[in-house]
């Protein structure tokens, strides 16, 4: 079967967009082929800085013929209906239609045969549409045609389209179409500098080979392999080791069509700069790799660059050019670092008075003060020294004002640690300057040092409470302040470190602190707001308990927002647990209990519940509870009432009833005691005791007794099963 070769040749495509573009091209073309009934054998897409290429092999030469039946009007229907039917089906008269007998009458049926079209014609139709609507993250217009509406948009100017279709053994045909004046053909071009001449190509095999001869490696993976292998070899040969960097490798491979790896060096004096800063300088500005000494494990004064040409001088000019660029960059970095060391971190803090963190949330200085207070509050709960946590919170943001961080934002925190150590701070305090930003993403490490934990939690909670207090929470895909990440960070810190934190109290108290920044002149208001936190907790405050009207209105505004934030934590936790493989229904069963603000206990409950349900006792008890719930549900509907309240022991007529009632009492007490001790496994074992009496009850007892009083009492007993089990979870949320 024939193959398709498609190449879109353009000016330089941004490196970061190439992989996705190749993937999109493959997906869009193959999806469309399948939708057109052209089921192909295989497809592969490639990208270089100047081209997107796609090969699809094993495409049928023709679409299959399509036979469809279309039902028309009844026999004897009005003429308008008949005419409409003929027009829609292309029949010339009703004689060409079949007649179908049907109990509702006899209908005309048109047999429509749609012959399959040649695949090349289908391609000529679908490819230009895909090109015109290609999903580039950012695209542009260019040239004379951009003066007219409807001109083509592409990532950068598109110059040529190669599109051929044919069998391996034959000369392929060009898939003929044109997009914005660009006619398809079979001409592409080699390397911009080393082989710029036009190349005539037939199909993928000769295309890839001819490109290679013209100094273009089409496959990005092959370019990566070359760069990686050459860089390793080059460094190894001199007793060094490449500092591997996948993201940089991905980017660099998207900047060259013909990778040529070379090594340069810089003056040893720059090795006095922290390694991360050297790396950031060389990586970000020059897209070069750094190199370490394999014996000491420390960076050496070498770097690895990837050029796009083989120069006649062996690359001497290119290496020395790169060295000339890197030198002043490192010189700047060294100057910044040394300048930074001359000023103590706390001396920088007054500047934060001038820097607005957020229009509604005040200055960075105000935010740091809040984080200090909160870190001190959290410290004893996580086993951290209060003085150290406060000190760390005080200094943790100061490096944002240093020269090095101004130049390389990605070393924020890390520089804080270096500068803190340099000025003789406690090791935990210094570590917290770096670690309080963690975890930055799902792959990032969670801090474990108590001081770091206290500051990391305080930093994130302040951000979350702040934005919730001013009602700027994430919506849909919009999360400009990375609040989801912050919430997930809080969750991971708590769960991974087995921390017990009364979240409701922490969040609501901190919300008042945030408010005090907004209502700073109204001390009465703040005092009153603090009172409700102290006294009421999660419960409603009666509306007449405020003497200050403003405090009451702020309270009414704030409480639902804190509740909403807690619900947001619950949602993130659900997502997190689900991603770790916990059954989402178990998570729901625990959350359905309500009033849960201790994340660790929620996780423990879900774990215990999951284990319990894997046992026979668990499965059977679940079945029993479900049965009870089902019966109750039906009867509640029938009677339009619930069966709450304690059953009357005097009405028990059967032994199984009495036994069940007795066990429920015992189980309730045992399970509650176990839950109070946070021993969820024990609570589950207690639940397991319900299984024999529940089974026996359903075996021997008819719930819907003829005596309505007995029936009511039995339903109340069933309801007791449900309520007793709510000590550990809402079993009705669990799926079988």
């Amino acid at each position: 079967m024939p193959d398709l070769l498609l190449e879109l040749f353009s000016e330089e495509i941004p490196a970061r967009m190439q992989a996705k573009a190749a993937d999109d091209l493959r997906r869009l073309v193959t999806d469309k082929l399948v939708a057109e009934g052209l089921v192909y054998e295989g497809a592969k897409a490639f990208a270089t800085p100047r081209r997107l290429a796609l090969t699809v092999h094993g495409i049928p030469a023709r679409q299959p013929d399509l036979k469809t039946e279309r039902r028309g009007p009844k026999m004897g229907a009005p003429d308008a209906a008949v005419q409409g039917f003929l027009k829609a089906t292309g029949l010339t008269s009703l004689d060409e239609a079949k007649i179908q007998r049907d109990p509702k009458g006899d209908f005309y049926i048109a047999l429509i045969e749609k012959p399959g079209r040649d695949a090349i014609d289908v391609l000529a139709e679908i490819l230009p549409v895909i090109i015109r609507t290609f999903p580039w993250p950012k695209s542009m217009r260019w040239g004379a045609r951009s003066g007219k509406p409807g001109s083509l948009s592409w990532v950068r100017p598109l110059h040529a389209i190669t599109a051929t279709f044919g069998l391996e053994t034959e000369e392929p045909d060009v898939v003929k179409f044109s997009v914005d004046g660009i006619e398809t053909g079979q001409t592409t071009y080699g390397h911009r500098f080393m082989a710029p001449a036009a190349i005539s190509v037939r199909r993928f095999e000769d295309y890839e080979a001819k490109l290679k001869a013209a100094k273009v490696i089409l496959d990005p993976q092959a370019r990566k392999d070359i760069i990686f292998a050459d860089a390793k070899e080059l460094t190894f040969a001199q007793g060094f080791e490449l500092v591997e960097d996948q993201a940089l490798l991905d980017e660099v491979s998207g900047l060259v069509e013909w990778p040529v790896v070379m090594m340069g060096s810089f003056e040893k004096e720059y090795l006095a700069i922290p390694e991360e800063v050297i790396r950031a300088t060389i990586r970000n500005n020059q897209k070069c790799f750094v190199v370490r000494d394999s014996k000491t494990g420390k960076l050496t004064n070498k770097f690895v660059l990837t050029a796009n040409i083989e120069a006649p001088d062996g690359g001497k000019t290119i290496v020395s050019g790169n060295e000339r660029v890197i030198r002043p960059r490192l010189s700047d970095a060294k100057f910044f670092y040394e300048t930074d060391l001359k000023t103590k971190l706390e001396e920088r803090l007054p500047k934060f008075d001038q820097i607005v963190f957020h229009e509604k949330l005040g200055t960075q200085a105000a935010r740091i003060t809040r984080i200090e207070r909160l870190a001190a509050e959290i410290a004893p709960l996580v086993g951290a020294d209060v003085a150290k946590a406060t000190r760390a919170a005080h200094l943790a943001k100061a490096d944002l004002l240093t020269e090095v961080v101004g130049e390389f934002p990605e070393v924020q925190g890390l520089m804080g640690k270096y500068y803190a150590l340099a000025q003789g701070e406690d090791a935990s305090v210094a570590a917290a300057c770096e670690e309080h930003y963690k975890p930055q993403g799902p792959a990032d490490r969670v801090p474990t040092d108590p001081v770091s934990i206290a500051v990391a939690l305080a930093d994130k909670i302040d951000t979350l409470v702040g934005f919730w207090a001013i009602d700027e929470k994430p919506t849909g895909s919009k999360d400009p302040y990375a609040l989801r990440r912050a919430a997930l960070g809080v969750i991971r810190i708590i769960v991974d470190n087995d921390l017990r934190l009364p979240l409701w109290k922490l969040l609501s108290e901190h919300a008042v602190q945030v408010m005090s920044a907004i209502y700073k002149d109204d001390t009465d208001l703040i005092v009153e707001l603090s009172d409700w936190i102290g006294s009421a907790g999660n419960a409603e405050v009666p509306s007449n308990s405020f003497s200050n009207q403003a405090a009451e209105s702020v309270y009414k505004l704030l409480k639902p927002r804190v509740e909403d934030l807690l619900a947001f934590f619950a949602d993130r936790l659900k997502v997190q647990l689900r991603e770790q493989g916990a059954r989402h229904d178990l998570v729901d069963a625990v959350f359905a209990l309500g009033g849960q603000d201790d994340l660790l206990m929620i996780v423990r409950r879900v774990e215990a519940l999951g284990k319990f349900l894997e046992t026979d006792d668990g499965k059977n008890l679940l079945a029993g509870i479900k049965r009870a719930s089902n019966i109750l549900g039906i009867e509640e509907k029938k009677d339009k009432r619930t069966f709450d309240g304690a059953p009357d022991a005097a009405l028990y007529g059967l032994g199984e009833e009495k036994a069940l009632a007795k066990t429920i009492g015992e189980v309730r007490a045992e399970a509650s005691a176990a839950v109070a001790k946070e021993d969820f496994a024990a609570a589950m074992s207690a639940m397991a005791k319900l299984r024999p009496p529940v089974d026996a009850f359903f075996d021997k007892v008819r719930v819907n007794d003829d005596d309505p009083k007995v029936r009511e009492n039995r339903l109340m007993l069933l309801n007791e099963i449900r309520s007793a089990t709510r000590a550990v979870a809402d079993f009705s949320k669990i799926q079988d």
Binding site: A15, G143, A307, V356
Partner: protein, 311 residues
């Protein structure tokens, strides 16, 4: 490179020869070679030959040197490559010709950068000017790892879609010349290509100015006056724009250029105030927005002028 040039005019020996080589190259491509605009501005893009001429349907090809004033970048002449005043070489071609990349590479050859020996790369760099309400897509052009030019296809200027799109090239002249001459300190550039007593360096021409202007920009510039000047320029710009509508109808405009001068002025005054550190972070945004509003209004006036394509 033109082999017939006398040694002191060669781009790799002489800063002025370097500029002349670029001018000559782009003149050959049909560009009008303009002289620098006679106002202070932060970048060659502000020149009306780019900002305004990029708008409207009429073809336009021009190249010029423009002194770029960046008050905040002053380093009292002590940094080897940062200055508050430097030169940009600007090329604008509307509509962008299909071979603009090749023309650019040829222009590098004309100033002594051979793309067979050097590693020339086009690295993604989307350009945006919040003050001009303008954006475009393109690259920073690298030579052996050094950014030497900015290459942009204008998509929008002064809030208006560019139709057709113009291609814009900006060369950082000092940096390129340093590379070609092989010097590491801008002040060591040979300006006139002569040797011995006859040699004039970039430092001879500009070092004193860098020191004086750095002091002025960071320490002395009269901020009360500058705040006033900003307001005056803003008011004048609006006034000229209002007065420019022919017969008071918003159909034809007769004074887009004088109004735009005031927009340039406001922008530079803002940069001076910013360098003096008297504009807070929040105010900064609002000043940028005010300049952008002026630029947009000037753009609107421009497209109602003859050169803007109205007639």
């Amino acid at each position: 490179m033109d082999a017939s040039l006398p040694a002191h005019m060669r781009p790799e020996r002489s800063f002025q020869g370097f500029i002349l080589a670029l001018q000559r190259f782009w003149a050959e491509q049909g560009c009008v070679i303009l002289q620098p605009y006679d106002m202070e501005m932060g970048a060659g893009t502000f020149h009306p030959a780019t900002t305004l001429r990029a708008l409207g349907p009429k073809p336009w090809n021009a190249a010029y040197v423009q002194p770029s004033r960046r008050p905040k970048d002053g380093r009292y002449g002590e940094n080897p490559n940062r200055m508050q005043h430097y030169y940009q070489f600007q090329v604008i071609m509307k509509p962008s010709p299909p071979n603009l990349q090749e023309l650019y590479l040829k222009s590098l050859a004309a100033i002594g950068i051979d793309s067979a020996v050097h590693d020339i790369r086009f690295v993604e760099d989307d350009w945006e000017s919040p003050t001009l309400g303008a954006w475009g897509l393109g690259w920073e052009c690298w030579c052996d790892g050094m950014e030497v030019s900015q290459f942009t296809y204008f998509q929008q200027v002064a809030g208006f879609e560019c139709a057709p799109v113009a291609g814009e090239l900006t060369y950082g002249l000092e940096r390129l010349a340093m590379y070609v001459q092989g010097v590491d300190r801008v002040y060591d550039l040979n300006f006139n290509g002569r040797d011995g007593d006859a040699k004039v360096t970039y430092g001879d021409v500009f070092l004193q100015a860098e020191r004086e202007y750095s002091k002025h920009n960071f320490e002395i510039a009269d901020t009360a006056m500058l705040f006033e000047q900003f307001k005056m320029a803003e008011t004048a710009c609006r006034k000229y724009l209002d007065a420019g509508w022919k017969d008071g109808k918003r159909e034809a405009h007769l004074m887009a250029l004088p109004a735009y001068d005031q927009c340039i002025k406001a922008s530079h005054v803002f940069n001076l105030l910013d360098a003096r550190g008297v504009i807070s972070v929040t105010e900064r945004q609002s000043y940028i927005l005010r300049v952008r509003e002026l630029a947009k209004a000037c753009g609107e006036a421009w497209i109602h002028t003859e050169a803007g394509g109205a007639a």
